[in-house]
Symmetry: C2
């Protein structure tokens, strides 16, 4: 069955993925002379940098996601389809989806990356990923439900398994979760759960290498470690998880940690759709693209964002998989498709800097010529993220939430809203 999209004289560009890269490109091309088909499995764009605040009950999912259709009101050449891509059949210039198949003149793959469990089924089974707003909500419900459960547990070891949390991976996500869990322990648990001894709650952050926030400056790495330790997070460097059984976490050294909840933020792998030739694949399950972001050997197929891997002499493993790269690639590709002169010399990434937050008044910022940490860095972090968030109403709601939480030392969304499942 064919997806029901009107045939037109316009060439058709199919964009798969409504993340930073795909959405930006669709918006840039919305006024062009192409027919644009934007495909995503969700009907919204999600703002990944704030997932951890959803998980920590500081923000609602709706504040950090934005319905895709709202971007394209009045654009008669843009067609949005909420469906899953099953296979690329490039010989027929056709995409199979769960709604039916769709043909393309140009195909842009912007399907991003998902949690990488490195093929380890045990890790996947016993740990919680954080790569979508649904997963963030799942984590929130799990944390809160476990505190509730812990109230009825008189056995110390069993209670530890419920209230201790291990975070694996010392990148921005891991650091941000660890920091906000530590703040929850400090400010919220004593008020909400006076029956629990907050001192019993242990938060572990496990990092394989010898520094946190790899890729940022040394000052940022060191300061974030310092911030976390001051907040009481048990940071374990140079170690890794060798076994999980749903009750304990085993590292190469030391006693196993009693913790049922393990948050896995230790790696990602590209979401390569079925049907892509083997020779297009780069390490990390990404797609090899040239300087024009064309997928290797596939005429009319492009990849942008976390999925794309543009290997150069300086960057043999491609660009960092961050929002900045995704958005710059989208802007570049819009120009390249429009045959703008400026696109001729190929994509060049301009690093605008990076940042991470640990907690109240504690963040680290690396700008190209200025690195700073602490309270001012924290306000910069808040401002930049608020500014990048899409939608005026989202900005307003996040802003009010942040001010509210800042003043009250509280995050008031501690609701375990269980999804209703119809029993048939």
């Amino acid at each position: 069955m064919k997806i029901n999209i009107p045939e037109s004289d316009q060439e058709r560009i199919v964009i798969v993925g409504g993340g930073f890269a795909g959405l930006m490109l669709a918006r840039k091309l919305a006024k062009s002379d192409y027919q644009i088909v934007l495909i995503d499995k969700n009907n919204y764009h999600q703002f990944q940098p704030l997932f951890y605040q959803v998980a920590m009950a500081g923000l609602e999912p709706s504040s950090i996601v934005f319905p895709l259709r709202k971007f394209f009101h009045g654009r008669r050449n843009v067609f949005i389809r909420v469906t899953e891509v099953l296979k690329v059949r490039h010989d027929q210039r056709q995409l199979d989806t769960s709604l039916g198949h769709v043909n393309y003149d140009h195909l842009i793959l912007a399907t991003g990356a998902d949690t990488n469990f490195f093929g380890n089924e045990e890790l996947r089974k016993h740990s919680i990923p954080m790569k979508s707003v649904s997963e963030a909500l799942f984590l929130r419900n799990r944390i809160l439900a476990d505190y509730e459960k812990a109230l009825s547990i008189t056995d110390y070891e069993t209670r530890q398994q419920l209230i201790d949390i291990v975070i694996v991976g010392g990148g921005p996500t891991g650091v941000e979760i660890a920091g906000s869990l530590a703040e929850m322990k400090k400010y919220i648990i004593p008020k909400d759960y006076p029956e629990l001894d907050a001192g019993e709650i242990d938060i572990y952050l496990v990092q394989g290498g010898d520094q946190l926030l790899k890729g940022m400056s040394e000052a940022s790495s060191e300061k974030s470690l310092d911030f976390l330790r001051k907040l009481g997070v048990k940071v374990i460097l140079n170690d890794r998880v060798v076994k999980l059984d749903g009750e304990r976490v085993y590292l190469t050294q030391g006693d196993p940690i009693p913790a049922q909840k393990v948050i896995w933020a230790a790696g990602i792998r590209g979401n390569v759709p079925e049907g892509m030739p083997k020779e297009t694949l780069a390490p990390g399950n990404r797609l090899i693209v040239d300087e024009q972001l064309r997928v290797k050997g596939m005429d009319g197929v492009y990849a942008i964002g976390d999925l794309a891997c543009m290997q150069t002499k300086e960057l043999p493993y491609g660009h960092p998989q961050v929002a900045q790269v995704a958005m710059q690639q989208a802007r570049f590709l819009a120009k390249a498709i429009g045959r703008k002169k400026s696109a001729k010399k190929g994509f060049r990434y301009k690093d605008l800097g990076s940042m991470a937050t640990v907690g109240r008044h504690r963040a680290v910022v690396d700008l190209p010529n200025w690195k700073f940490q602490g309270a001012f860095a924290w306000f910069v972090w808040l401002f930049v993220h608020l500014f990048q968030l899409l939608g005026a109403k989202n900005k307003l709601f996040v802003f009010i939430n942040w001010v509210w939480n800042y003043l009250t030392y509280d995050q008031s969304l501690r609701l375990i809203i269980r999804p209703y499942q119809k029993q048939v």
Copy 2:
């Protein structure tokens, strides 16, 4: 296993249910000399009058629910347990729950009421209830997902089944859902789904009797019917659903209506826990209580709210099952338990009036001495509901949402956030 609650010298009052009745009572008793155990299956109180706005994507669940624990910060005699009640064993003054058992000196049942399918399994299977915030979210996801699906359906009849909606029950919930669906059809569908012909969407409201909003004034009944018809809702009076098969809705008269979605708002039944003696039951599965709200023949057991049925000469079927009664009963019972003189003569309900909203500038209000309809009634409705909502932050967020929606003719939360289920 016993639930882990410290033994104390205080008499223990166990309250089951954190709705309007149970929560109000727990708050009134929080400063008393009793040990209070508040049991609910959720960790939050939900504001039922605004469920329909959650279903229509106008509000987020978190704006209309409030974490129970936040009401009792610093109250060392209040213990909250999130669990399900399995059985009342009054001979042992004991309650069985999924967390273990708990003993009581006084037991207050405030478990409310749930959708009544009158034992009809077919109705239950093919219709959507609206008695919890989770169910409201389910309905929202279902409506939005069906619009997305409809885009790919070229067959007229099949598309009708996806976009038409039948609401059964002409009480406030049915009227409010029908009105807001009609507004969604008018203001939102043309912008979000230009490919759909909004004119094809039919909204039916089926009511068994010959008037809507039974129990309100004749003026309100007539005006609400008028409002709905002006909004394009197909109101069918004096008919009822005789068969549902998930594709069509069969009434006693006329052709079957092609609609997969049926919202069931045509009756409720009390949530009587297991273990209650037969002689305590009143019609509608409620518990018979005397003027002191004591359950018939059970010393130390009380029922309040939708569950309670205080049969008097004027009210042979008990009080209306509305929030006002629940809150007044809770206030009364707090006094009765505290042996206040004012409670001696028994519970008397003071009807403060009732209201319902159909849509923008369209509501009906019955005060004891004044009945009015239209724009002013609508603002009164908004103000009263905002005022009754618990929590300053909830009030603020709902207020901003309403102003935003009012100005933009839009409800911007059209997100199909599918719950993440861990695959193990």
